[in-house]
């Protein structure tokens, strides 16, 4: 059987950044009507390959052909006009514009030079509807959680081709880690959309660190390691073990190890106690007790109030009812300062807008929380600082291991590790982790989960939020279940607690 012609072919792609060779001679091809996974560890060069294709970065070598014609895009706009729609890894929309405006920005429907607002809103609502989303397109984007923002970015890119004239229609759809903060439900919606587009002959490039998703939806995969191509395979020809081996260059068995680890049982006295803590529009008043050395996992669907609950415990939002006491002393949670002073740390899910300072170096970003706690008059002595930073770069395997690198230039997963390092370095009593493994590769993910286990063994309490229920279940002593912005149940982890039991609780919303 003769193979069809690839719609997109990249040959010998080279990209160099000052001091880093991100891609050295990578070949990649994409066929119409296929879903093609691009895989590799954090920093392997996946996002860079996408960015040189779409003209975000210039090419230092190699050729690209689209539909058999040699192309080279000077800007993402050109790529889009040629039929390549892209959702980049970091959501880059305008938070203060409405959802509808974000979907249509740059290609608003106009008549006689004026924007047709009504039509724009209607079409936006239709597009959003098609993804099975229930959101108000006139509300500002910033009023929605990161996952919804990510979905809006997807809607925007998918909408380019079919609903709006002017483009040649989407030939290639690129999704760089679109599912990193989505729940199962949205993932399924996205997959059915991807399959629909695939049937229409669209070629889809899909990046994800969730291997199960790859096996669920992809036809073909290309694996990168350290900026080089290690192989292209049909998904059905390679099993997960083989794939992981290709990705990291050695077999991985830590995951198994973690699967049957025992939760340690020496949970101590109460550390934090929240009573009737709540915030209108955020989360209904709830009671929560966190013990020393305990890991509490939060489970719930998108928009169920997990992040909102965590933000109240950190003073990121001001509660309008209830009290918090830490170590028996009441703490007024009016600002993050108060919480930090009481030994609470909060690692936000949104590393771009709420986490990192992109212009500062890795070192500066890592020490920021510690330095803020010491105040400006007491800088951390240089030797101590460098030692700490080196230690955490090594412990979390941040690459490149250069404390002087600008954080904005790190790969997504490595940025996430920097954010984790920032809070670990403060040695908090309670560590709140909101999607800490977002965008982190499979090897590092296991490392981070092991780290959480060992921190809790050493007496640190952890509040752990993750979209993946298995992850929550594996690590937590207690699982808080949220539904409709309400903490509906707190389940003590044990043999009888399974993911389906949690899903049932979420579905029934029973108060226990």
């Amino acid at each position: 059987m003769a193979e069809p012609q690839p719609v997109l072919q990249m040959t010998g792609i080279v990209k160099e950044f000052p001091g880093v060779r991100a891609l050295s001679g990578v070949d990649f091809r994409l066929f119409p009507g296929e879903i093609h996974a691009l895989l590799g560890e954090n920093g392997a060069g996946k996002s860079t390959l996408i960015k040189v294709l779409t003209g975000v970065h210039s090419l230092d070598g190699g050729t690209i052909t689209l539909d058999g014609e040699s192309v080279r895009f000077a800007s993402p706009l050109q790529a889009q006009q040629a039929g390549i729609s892209t959702v980049y890894q970091e959501v880059n929309l305008c938070p203060n514009l409405s959802v509808a405006e974000n979907i249509f920005i740059g290609r608003e429907p106009t008549r006689a030079g004026r924007i047709q607002w009504k039509r724009m809103r209607r079409e936006a609502a239709e597009l959003v509807d098609r993804l099975g989303l229930d959101i108000d397109v006139t509300a500002p984007l910033s009023s929605y959680p990161l996952a919804v923002q990510q979905l809006v970015a997807i809607v925007r890119s998918v909408g380019t081709g079919d609903s709006v004239s002017g483009g040649s229609g989407t030939k290639v759809l690129i999704l760089d880690e679109p599912t990193s903060s989505l729940d199962r439900g949205e993932v399924l919606e996205l997959f059915s959309l991807m399959r629909r587009l695939k049937e229409q002959g669209v070629a889809i490039l899909f990046v994800s660190h969730f291997l199960d998703q790859i096996y669920e939806v992809c036809d073909r995969m290309t694996v990168l390691r350290n900026g080089t191509l290690v192989g292209e395979h049909m998904v059905r020809d390679l099993d997960q073990v083989g794939l992981v081996q290709l990705m990291i260059g050695k077999a991985l068995d830590q995951l198994e190890e973690l699967h049957d680890h025992q939760l340690h049982s020496d949970v101590g006295e109460t550390l934090l106690k929240a009573e009737a803590l709540g915030r209108a529009g955020g989360i209904a008043p709830f009671d929560l007790e966190v013990k020393k050395g305990e890991v509490i996992g939060l489970a719930g669907l998108l928009g169920s109030g997990r992040t909102e609950l965590a933000r109240l415990l950190f003073g990121a939002d001001q509660p309008d009812s209830g009290t918090v006491s830490i170590g028996g002393k009441q703490v007024s949670m009016n600002a993050p300062n108060d919480a930090i002073g009481a030994g609470v740390a909060f690692c936000s899910e949104n590393r771009k807008t709420e986490g990192l300072v992109p212009d500062l170096t890795v070192r500066e970003n890592i020490i920021l929380a510690l330095q803020a706690a010491r105040g400006w008059t007491r800088p951390i002595p240089a030797s101590q600082r460098d030692e700490l930073v080196a230690k955490y770069i090594k412990a979390l395997d941040i690459r490149p291991a250069n404390p002087e690198a600008r954080v904005g230039q790190l790969s997504g997963g490595n940025q996430q590790k920097v954010l984790l390092a920032r809070w670990l370095i403060t040695q908090p009593k309670l560590l709140i982790l909101d999607e800490p493994t977002r965008g982190i590769d499979i090897g590092a993910k296991a490392e981070i989960q092991k780290l959480v286990v060992s921190l809790s063994e050493d007496g640190m309490s952890v509040l752990y939020i993750a979209a993946e229920l298995e992850e929550v279940l594996r690590l937590s002593h207690t699982i808080g279940v949220l539904r409709d912005r309400r903490l509906v149940a707190q389940l003590t982890n044990g043999p009888e607690i399974t993911t389906s039991r949690i899903l049932e609780t979420i579905a029934s919303g029973e108060h226990q």
Partner: protein
């Protein structure tokens, strides 16, 4: 190979372009004033164009250094010109009321009074920006407009002239053969560098300007930091105000420090600090202020007609700003680069590139250095 990489490292240093422009501007003067670089000793004082540039540029350097920190937090301070006027007016009117205008105690008190007023202005700006959450450009506009009125009130709408030896020293006197103001500037710059880089203040300022929400969540007391930088900026403007009024032995509520805020903002930008906030460079700002002062001097020495003064200045500023942009540099220097790589390509055994490919290569080249 190493020389090219060293050259690369040099051209990529953040001070390279500002310093290059400064040097070029200085050299432009030579054909018009052959002894431009010479420095003479007369009466135990050093004289020369270079000395005057630093002397006349002193107030601008001071104001721009303060402005740098405000801009680094993502703010801006339009009120510095008015603060210059208020400080000078207050100090001079106090001195002019003294029986003995040259009495040291009176002069010191006058200076303290002036600087106190500056600090109050800074507190007000900081309060509006950090506590009330008003946009910096609006918040500082208030004193920019009202402050001149206050200065007029202090001087009764007159130009107050004084005759005070100690006061004259700050902006017009000499010490160790050099203008005294150069020492003042050196001390302020040194203090600023120590204050920002030997403590964690610089880091926290850059963090607040680089990502305000992340800084809040990391526990930085950004309100306090913002108030501090506005006070510091006003204090710098206050010292500049003393210097300007001392230099002329007069307080002119109307014209002292007029438009200095714009020059200061320009100096900061030329020095490589982004108006969006974040990373800042005090050294860059000092160079930037010197560029602006040299430009003013150059306009006089090469005899640009007065009516085209501002146009000339604008053109130079545009060139400097363009040179600062990596995108623009890549575009301009790519022609040369493209030609070079084309030549190398021709020599290699690989297929001779058809015209179309070379065109594509040069087209792609402009973005080569964009990081």
């Amino acid at each position: 190979m190493t020389t090219t990489s060293r050259w690369r490292a040099l051209t990529h240093h953040h001070l390279f372009w500002p310093v290059a422009v400064l040097v070029v501007l200085l050299l432009v003067n030579v054909p018009f004033t052959p002894d431009f670089f010479s420095i003479k000793m007369t009466d135990g004082h050093l004289y020369g164009s270079l000395v005057s540039i630093v002397l006349f540029g002193s107030p601008l350097i001071l104001v721009a250094v303060g402005m740098t920190l405000v801009i680094a937090t993502g703010g801006i301070d339009l009120s510095v010109g008015a603060v210059v006027a208020i400080t000078g007016a207050l100090a001079c009117s106090y001195i002019s009321d003294q029986a003995d205008q040259s009495a040291l105690a009176g002069v010191l008190l006058a200076m303290g009074l002036g600087l106190l007023a500056a600090v109050v202005c800074g507190l007000w700006n900081g309060f509006l920006v950090a506590r009330m959450g008003i946009q910096p450009i609006i918040a500082t506009l208030i004193i920019m407009v009202a402050g001149r009125g206050v200065a007029q009130l202090i001087t009764d709408g007159q130009i107050i002239t004084i005759n005070s030896e100690p006061y004259k020293l700050i902006g017009g006197g000499y010490w160790l053969t050099l203008p005294f103001s150069i020492f003042v500037v050196a001390v302020v710059v040194a203090v600023t560098v120590v204050l920002t880089r030997r403590t964690a203040l610089g880091l926290l300022v850059e963090s607040v300007g680089g990502n305000a929400e992340a800084s809040r969540l990391v526990g930085i007391r950004s309100r306090r930091i913002k108030i501090m930088v506005y006070v510091f900026c006003a204090l710098c403007a206050g010292i500049a105000g003393l210097m300007i009024s001392s230099n002329t032995s007069a307080a002119d509520g109307n014209n002292a420090g007029l438009w200095i805020e714009l020059d200061a903002i320009l100096a900061v930008v030329i020095g490589g600090t982004s108006l969006l906030g974040g990373r800042f460079s005090i050294g860059g700002t000092v160079v930037g202020a010197l560029v602006i002062q040299t430009l003013t001097t150059t306009i006089y020495t090469i005899g640009v007609p007065t009516q085209t003064n501002l146009v000339f200045k604008a053109v130079v500023v545009i060139i400097v700003c363009l040179l600062q942009s990596p995108k623009f540099r890549a575009k301009v220097f790519s022609a040369r680069l493209g030609a070079k790589s084309g030549a190398q390509g021709g020599g290699s055994p690989s297929a001779p590139a058809p015209a179309g490919t070379t065109a594509a290569a040069t087209e792609a080249a402009p973005k080569m250095e964009v990081s």
